[in-house]
Amino acid sequence: MDRISQIYNDEKLLKKLHEDVNLTIEDVLEHEMVINMGPQHPATHGVLRLVLRLDGETVLGVVPELGYLHRGYEKMAENMSYIEYIPHTDRLDYTATMCNNVGYVLAVEKLIGIEAPKRAQYIRMIVAELSRIAAHLIAIGTFAMDVGAVTMVMWTFREREKIQNIFDRLAGARFTTSYTRIGGVSEDMDDEAIVLTKKFLNEFDDALMDMDKLMLSNRIFIDRLEGIGILSKEDAIALGVTGPNLRASGVEYDVRRAAPYLFYNEIDFNIPTQTEGDCLARYFLRGDEVRESVKILNQCLDKMPQGEIRANDPKTVLSQKAEIYTKMEELIHDFMIINYGINPPAGDIYFSVENPKGELGFYIVSNGTGQPWKLKIHSPSFCNLQVLSQLCKGAMISDVVAIVGSLDPVMGEADK
């Protein structure tokens, strides 16, 4: 204490101190500040790093830095067979594992030129829609938590838990499902799984209503999101935004409708859109999509036919174990597939499916051998993050959290 008062009383020392620090109050108020948000920030949904340039509380610019979860899945794909790669698709968007599984096998099936039996396709539709509900529940829950409504995440995770139980019954795993196979699915959907699904759907409407009541009567929640991070229709298209974020800006584009895969053309469902393009619109849109998924699921369960769950094509599709043990051809081809892989014709294809985050596309280049020559993942989270710096410009620093939450990126997918 003595020393400090000594400095302030001594003019010579004070002058020297000012020269050293070279900073005045005016300087502090006038200059911009650069701060680092992430990669270990709870509101960035993984390991996303944002470098913010601030003037007071206003964001002047944002530079997203990706790559903290880059595991090189595209490189790994070039060194394994088509079947071996299925479990790795789980780790892309780890909130919607089933959707990734379905998307990948459909791409490979397009390359090979085979089609799964009808029952298998219906099962794929059911698991994809269940997975979509689960992913949107996480998105809604964590988004609400980011802006301060912590109850929501408990409620959404409670519902998601039931979906995980269905997956457990179907695939034997709750989280890393790896359920689909090239030419079908790994296990049939038995009665118990159907009962679980129906039970979940019956209870889900009420739960969704409760969640809506909780959030929409919450003045703070609405005020924090309304008019924040507005994305116009033109910008959304130009910057390559996909999925719910694109539809929240008023573009009615959904791969399930634009280029129907599986049996989505036999199902009656709407594509919800919003025109505002702000954070609140993106929140509402996910809720609407969940309702449409429930509609699709109910129709799928009614329409699902009996029959085979894997295509009968031993040259490209792994046969059932009983057949391998009893038939010569099946045994030979099983040996060939396991050792040398499926050999699709040389060529390149692009196939995309509608994932909860947006359009997940696979661009596969084959040179006729058992391993893909190149496999490129068009990941929706990556595309959606590109718009972040534009949305955050001019926003307040607390809005950054809301905007990131509303875009709903999953870094496992964005970083590959």
Partner: protein, 164 residues
């Protein structure tokens, strides 16, 4: 079928000499064109009123390893008007590999081209912000090239110095 013919006809009319190959494998329409016209072609596809390919979905590259023209840059573009997606491929014949950017036409190509640069080392000329996308600044290699080993190169990612 009609859409496919319309696009092929329109592109052929304008860029007949520059088209090297048109393929239709598994119903994916794909044009292989010369490197010099990529920006003009992009502009044409986007602004031609009957086509309107306004969305660029993806830019990536293929490393062919031992081929003479080692790299191929691949663009996937989509038209909301026609509800159709086409692929444009450009073989690169210069060393070090470089091609003009299409960011001025499709803004979304910005990050896709950065990613391609990061993974294959293809330089996009006039790109506004050509930095590494995933790998750290100062990383010397391009991981998706075929000569980069799967297990990585020892010492290529130095650990930070430990404080004493």
């Amino acid at each position: 079928m009609e859409i496919k013919e319309l696009i092929t006809q329109k592109v052929k009319e304008k860029f007949n000499e520059a088209i090297e190959e048109i393929s239709d494998f598994r119903n994916d329409l794909s044009f292989t064109v010369k490197k010099d016209i990529i920006v003009q072609l992009a502009k044409f596809l986007k602004e031609e009123p009957e086509l309107e390919f306004i969305a660029c979905k993806d830019v990536t590259a293929i490393d062919w390893g031992t081929r003479k023209k080692r790299f191929t840059v691949v663009y996937h573009v989509y038209s909301f008007k026609l509800n159709y997606q086409i692929r444009i491929k450009v073989n690169i014949d210069v060393e070090p590999p470089a091609i003009e950017t299409v960011t001025s036409i499709w803004a979304s190509a910005n990050w896709y081209e950065r990613e391609t640069y990061d993974m294959y080392g293809i330089k996009f000329i006039n790109h506004p912000d050509l930095r590494r996308m995933y790998m750290p600044e100062g990383f010397e290699y391009y991981p998706l090239r075929k000569d980069f080993p799967v297990l990585g190169i020892e010492g290529s990612l130095p650990l930070p110095n430990k404080a004493d």
